[in-house]
Symmetry: D2
Subunit: 176 residues, 4 copies
């Protein structure tokens, strides 16, 4: 499950043209101290709709917002004329998505691939990125990802965040 190409530098900044489900322009800095699951998707990508969106909704139910943040990123790299922010807004409402979703910034040089997607070197959609509480990109997956494995990775990052030892003075807890 370990992604060898991932290093310890800060995750690339999110560059966005607009956000839904939040009044702010979000940046990863606002999430320091929390583990972040970043879901890059396109609203008309079948794999995103069948796998990533349901996964994101379940993560949202399962973990405390103060521990784990779920962020969507609409990384449109094809069919830009129909996957507009207007269409995305309807999509988010229909799929009852309430976590913040940013629209990846179109390349001013005219390339199909938007800027954040370029910076992360994403190979397509869906892509899932795990960012630790220190803001470092710790794993990045293209395509569907096993839930048991993903759970273990998130649990490990949450345990790191909480510090080493889960048992003190006769009381134990599992961090996740």
């Amino acid at each position: 499950m370990f992604s060898p190409s991932i290093d310890s530098r800060p995750a690339p900044a999110l560059r966005t043209s607009c956000w839904f489900n939040t009044d702010e322009v979000l940046s990863l800095d606002s999430f320091k101290g929390r583990v972040v699951v970043l879901i890059a998707f396109q609203m008309l990508c079948p794999g995103c709709v069948a796998k990533s969106i349901p996964l994101a909704l379940r993560l949202e139910q399962l973990f405390e917002r103060s521990e784990l943040a779920i962020l969507g990123l609409h990384t449109v790299f094809e069919h830009h004329h129909v996957m507009t922010p207007d269409a995305l807004e309807v999509f988010l409402a229909e799929y009852r998505i309430r976590f913040p979703v940013g629209v990846d910034l179109p390349d001013p040089a005219g390339a199909d691939i938007p800027l954040t997607m370029q910076a992360y070197g994403m190979r397509g959609t869906p892509t899932l990125v795990l960012i630790d509480a220190e803001g470092r990109r710790r794993a990045q997956y293209f395509g569907a990802h096993d839930e048991l494995a993903l759970g273990a990775e998130i649990g490990a990052l949450l345990a790191e965040r909480d510090g080493a030892e889960g048992c003190t003075e006769g009381q134990c807890r599992i961090p996740a």
Copy 2:
């Protein structure tokens, strides 16, 4: 996901009449330093067959044996005359179960519930117990358990085992 009734004492000892898939009489002491998933089941329990056994097989594929040990425990508390060790042996072969499975020791006083099942206060089958690398029982679940949640708990226990900080000198890994 936190089980408030679980305390920090060592997990109760396994009391067994025989073992399959190992030549030894196993005890939890042999697993110190590893996280243990203990799966208590009955071979004719539909929920065990549909959920716990497939889960155990996937855990076995996903994690290194040196980090996570999977142990089965055949806790027969009904229909003892047909869920015999002979029948269990065929069951394990048919379901291609290769991890160690112990047979919970029948109560010499004649109670239906075998001794380890009594000691753990299990309410039925399937029951899943998480034991940390220090030998403490950290969680116990009766019935089916969400894979994402279970993954997170295992990941957290693995991270604890590996020590706090997953990033050192410019290299990071996710413990799980």
Copy 3:
């Protein structure tokens, strides 16, 4: 499974503004002699995407086109500004839908519900309509529908189409 409100009159005509995956303007008359499964959907309806589209694709694989015709109908009754024919064209390509799909005709009087949807009295999307080889509407379901039950209904309509007796002179076949 029997739909008591369905009578023996011909199914209402399809009224459409355009078609995809065909060069013709299709009408139900062209399908006389074949059983028809009509799938009414909206491209941003989660239930349609999760259930109806995969079902339609499996029906297409399973049955001969000469026996069973699959028709899609894009019945947009909300968010008309983003579920345009342009967007539908991308959706059909992304989901690899190759059976004919018509766009239900917008109501010239300005009602949200398009004309075919009105004529069939559909309550929402997805809706599945079964039309027999004589062109009669035999069943109509709103929402997800059990595959075993749907299979049985289709098999019965195919058997009707093929005539009563599946065994002649020492040889039998199952019509479906």
Copy 4:
């Protein structure tokens, strides 16, 4: 879906040592006029437990007993010492199986394969046999079988049983 090797002779007789969930010794003759789904299984066969038993239970829910009969046949061809009638009785209770289940007659000549299994030429378990209302074997499948396809075959046999035309005097019904 058509099984070319199936001919129009009556299905081989069921030869059984005992029955569960009925007080009678059942034969296929008792089911003339009804379509029969015969499920051959072994209680410790993983594919049977995961696929055939749930399928049989759903068929039982979906169809009227007066139209479609579900019969189980315990065709033990290995591990005879643990898949005994006593063990089967517990299995049927645990899995809440209420349709009649016969135990295939062991071969008096000592072969592993019991007599009905031999007569049907079954290749293993699970095997599903479709028998029409005239008592003819119309299809036989080894292994898991697609629900939509199976539904269509059952629907066709039910329509045959009910006679050709499902619409009379302005009223239509789907036979299944």
